[in-house]
């Protein structure tokens, strides 16, 4: 018996371990490329006031930047939770992504407005600079205004408590009190 005859078996063991690890990885999940960088600069109108704003308008820290549009069904799903967060004092900036401003204003008038302000991005150019690939997406701007996290998809209580609460410790967790935290 020679040791070298065990090489194929050993190689396969490594491969099998890798494949096993692969089962618990979601290959479609993409990290944000801008992580740790400042929010990219822009020159766009604000949704309600119509005045030109740039990145310096995003003054509050830490804050959320929520990418949304009226054509996006899931945005309607997460909207009540955004209102809830805003009530609890979380500053939220909106990026109205590839949308029609008239429809967007109607939406906010009807459903309530959780946003400090909204960057109008009809062409999707701010979204592109940010690395957005769909809506909804929610970004965290940390204490120095750098992009610290991104969540793709509906933002809800469970996601917020799991991934966002370290930047916003003040946000209460009623769900935790109700004991449904284990569902994460």
């Amino acid at each position: 018996m020679q040791a070298k005859k065990f090489i194929p078996l050993a190689a396969f063991a490594v491969l099998a371990g890798l494949l096993f690890r692969g089962l618990s990885i979601d290959p479609t999940e993409l990290p944000v490329a801008r992580l740790g960088q400042p929010f990219p600069d822009f020159a766009q109108p604000e949704l309600r006031s119509g005045r030109q704003i740039s990145v310096s308008a995003l003054v509050e820290r830490p804050a959320l930047v929520n990418v949304w549009a009226t054509w996006c069904y899931s945005c309607r799903v997460e909207h009540p939770y955004l209102l809830n967060l805003a009530e609890q004092g979380v500053p939220i900036y909106g990026l109205n992504y590839k949308d029609e401003p008239i429809k967007a204003r109607e939406w906010l008038a009807q459903l309530g407005d959780p946003y400090q302000l909204n960057v109008v991005d009809v062409e999707g150019s701010v979204g592109l600079d940010l690395g957005v690939y769909g809506a909804p997406e929610t970004y965290v701007l940390d204490a120095v205004g750098h992009i610290a996290h991104r969540h793709v998809g509906v933002l809800d209580e469970a996601v917020f408590q799991r991934d966002f609460s370290r930047w916003f410790p003040a946000v209460a967790s009623p769900a935790a009190a109700a004991g449904s935290e284990g569902g994460q």
């Binding site: 099998a16 494949l19 290959p27």
Partner: protein
């Protein structure tokens, strides 16, 4: 009732497969002839019940029984009957049943055509295949039951088959591919049986060689059909995308290529035995790995089955048992010394060794590229993509590296040869090919193209080797006359396959280099040119199909005023799913394809249109067809028939059927 009967048949098949996996193996251990003799009948039993289950599922599809979950999810009452049938394997559950059906078909074939082999060998081979069948039947029954019902909420109509799969190519592509995939279980089983018996000699190689060639031939044909289908069906004229699912079928093919060559050496010369046995294990392991990659969702692919990590875990455990067990057996039982028979550095053996090396490296590289994103992700090193630019960059040189040896191989002598003799045989025709290559490379659209020169040189070089060999075999008649006696099926098959490989290389390089493509806006009456061809959009219209409505554009294509053809690309909307499909129109010929696809309508009277000129693209599939057929032809060789001559009554045509 029918689905329940099918389910029961599948369970019976599962029980019989357990019997097959256990009883003959136990018999071989105990030298119990009666137990070993049960192997063929058990194998046939498994096949019968799997076939019954398959037929009953097919019946459910044909009868539009939408209470069956897979039927509801993948068929529709409007679907033409032939597609209702092929919808059976257009999904995970049904395709798994097809997998098992083909596996049991191979088992029955082995049981039928191996009567001349030692009983112990047959018992072990069938038993190993029975173990594989147990795994897949358990997989089907436990995680992917194709007979699951949607009761009481039976839908009124089905979801429809993905329109992409409503195509004749998809009726035969999966069965052919699986014939190859699963067929590799036969040399695998022979290898395991040989390791168990400690008899890794030339006779083992001789027994498994025709099976290997046939399986590898089917795999070649299956891959070819997949590529061809992608070309005409996906609508942008690509023929190979290096998608993980394609790689999943390509890796066993590459390893199989090494295996068929290595088996030749082991059969003829009794050397490379460890290597051959390992290749047989690897080739089948890679088909299992392919099954895992396609069905587990660990990699993103354009055409994976619905991803389900739970199923992935099942296959992974099965994979670990089968492959891990086999490699452990190899480690414990493989012969300690590689070769008893010696051969020189300059010999056919060493050329085939280079072949083995290059194809193994190619396989590992494709595997690495396919799994690289997963490796990076597993170690949290970031998200990477590895795509066609990488694979082309590394794979093309590897193939170019092996081709110079390919021409010499068939001409060279076993045991010992001289480079002088090689030069004597090949120098003059080689120089001839070089001149031709340089001349032809000037014929391209913009001057001398070095890639085409290289492709013609290498492909021509391989062809020279084949024709020299052919001539040498014919011209050895008495008194300088000609003889056909030495044109055996195994030579003809090899020649055909090598020429086919040369054709694939030539086609691939020429179409990549000289492909012309224009995306245009065209309205009725517009004329556009591409190369020497004029395309005129004559009219626009609509046409209803059985389950879709198509927008059509009618093009006349002319060259020097002469009408080449009328091409009618379509854009179809399928009723049941609402999906839109591009149906390209192709004018095909040996030297070039003209390819028209419709994009989006622009305004009322115009469309976005893609015109493509694809020189020699047919050579790809023609060549792959030659490779596949060549492999099948080799199995007709007389010497594989004579191995069964120990059976008193030789069955005429047995070998032919086996081929």
């Amino acid at each position: 009732m029918i689905p329940e009967l099918g389910h029961v048949a599948l369970i019976i098949a599962f029980v019989l497969a357990i019997g097959l996996a256990v009883v003959p193996m136990w018999g071989a251990m105990r030298r119990d002839v009666a137990a070993m003799n049960m192997a063929p009948s058990l194998a046939v039993g498994v096949t019968v019940f799997v076939a019954v289950a398959f037929a009953l599922l097919a019946l459910s599809f044909l009868q539009d029984d939408f209470s069956v979950a897979v039927v509801a999810a993948n068929s529709n009452s409007l679907l033409p009957p032939i597609f209702k049938f092929s919808a059976l394997w257009g999904n995970h559950e049904g395709s798994l049943l097809l997998w098992v059906l083909i596996l049991s078909g191979w088992m029955t074939a082995v049981a039928t055509f191996s009567r001349g082999l030692p009983l112990m060998m047959v018992a072990r081979v069938l038993s190993v295949m029975g173990m594989v069948a147990v795994g897949f039947l358990a997989f089907s029954l436990l995680t992917s039951n194709p007979f699951e019902r949607l009761l009481p909420n039976t839908p009124l109509d089905g979801n429809d088959l993905n329109p992409l799969l409503q195509d004749p190519g998809l009726i035969i592509h999966p069965p052919l591919l699986y014939m190859g995939y699963v067929g590799l279980s036969v040399p695998f089983a022979f290898a395991i049986a040989a390791l168990m018996g400690g008899r890794l000699d030339a006779s083992w190689a001789r027994w498994s060689r025709p099976w290997t060639n046939v399986a590898w031939g089917f795999l070649s044909l299956g891959i070819m059909l997949g590529s061809w289908w992608a070309y005409y069906e996906l609508g942008w004229g690509g023929w190979w995308f290096w998608d993980p699912v394609e790689n999943a079928s390509f890796m066993p093919w590459l390893m199989g290529t090494a295996l068929v060559h290595s088996l030749a050496v082991t059969e003829k010369r009794g050397v490379f035995r460890s290597w051959t046995v390992l290749l047989a294990i690897f080739a089948f392991s890679l088909s299992l790995l392919g099954t895992f990659l396609v069905r587990s969702g660990v990699l993103t692919s354009v055409h994976a089955f619905a991803a389900d990590p739970e199923r992935g875990l099942f296959i992974l455990i099965f994979l670990a048992l089968v492959v891990g067990g086999s490699l452990l057996l190899y480690a414990l039982r493989a012969p300690s010394v590689a070769s008893r028979v010696s051969y020189a550095g300059v010999s056919r053996e060493s050329l085939l060794m280079i072949n083995n090396l290059v194809f193994m490296v190619s396989t590992i590289v494709v595997l690495l590229g396919t799994l690289f994103p997963l490796i990076m992700d597993a170690f949290s090193l970031g998200k990477y993509s590895v795509g066609p630019p990488y694979f082309n960059a590394v794979f093309v040189p590897l193939m170019a590296l092996v081709m110079p040896f390919m021409a010499v191989g068939p001409l060279s002598r076993w045991r010992e040869d001289t480079t002088r003799r090689w030069l004597y045989e090949l120098l003059v025709p080689g120089l001839g090919v070089l001149v031709v290559a340089i001349v032809l490379a000037f014929l391209g659209s913009d001057g001398f193209n070095v890639w085409i020169a290289l492709a013609v040189l290498l492909a021509g070089w391989v062809a020279v080797g084949v024709f020299k060999d052919l001539w040498r075999r014919i011209a050895t008649g008495t008194e300088g006359g000609l003889t056909w006696r030495r044109l055996t099926p195994s030579f003809l098959g090899m020649a055909l396959a090598h020429l086919g490989f040369a054709a694939v290389v030539l086609g691939a390089v020429v179409v990549s280099q000289e492909n012309q493509e224009r995306d245009l806006r065209m309205a009725v009456g517009d004329v556009e040119t591409l190369g020497a061809y004029r395309f005129e959009l004559m009219s626009l219209g609509q046409q209803a199909g059985p389950n879709y409505l198509a927008d059509q554009a009618v093009f006349e294509v002319r060259r020097d005023q002469e009408l080449i053809g009328v091409l009618v690309p379509e854009k179809r909307r399928y009723f049941a799913s609402g999906q839109i499909m591009t149906e390209a129109a192709i004018d095909a010929s040996l030297w070039r394809d003209l390819y028209i696809a419709l994009g989006e309508p622009i305004g009322e009277q115009a469309w976005a249109v893609r015109l493509q000129y694809k020189p020699m693209v047919r050579w790809l599939w023609l060549g792959a067809l030659m490779i596949g057929l060549g492999a099948l032809v080799t199995a007709l060789d007389r010497r594989y028939r004579s191995q069964r001559s120990t059976v008193p009554v030789a069955e005429p045509g047995v070998a032919a059927v086996a081929g």
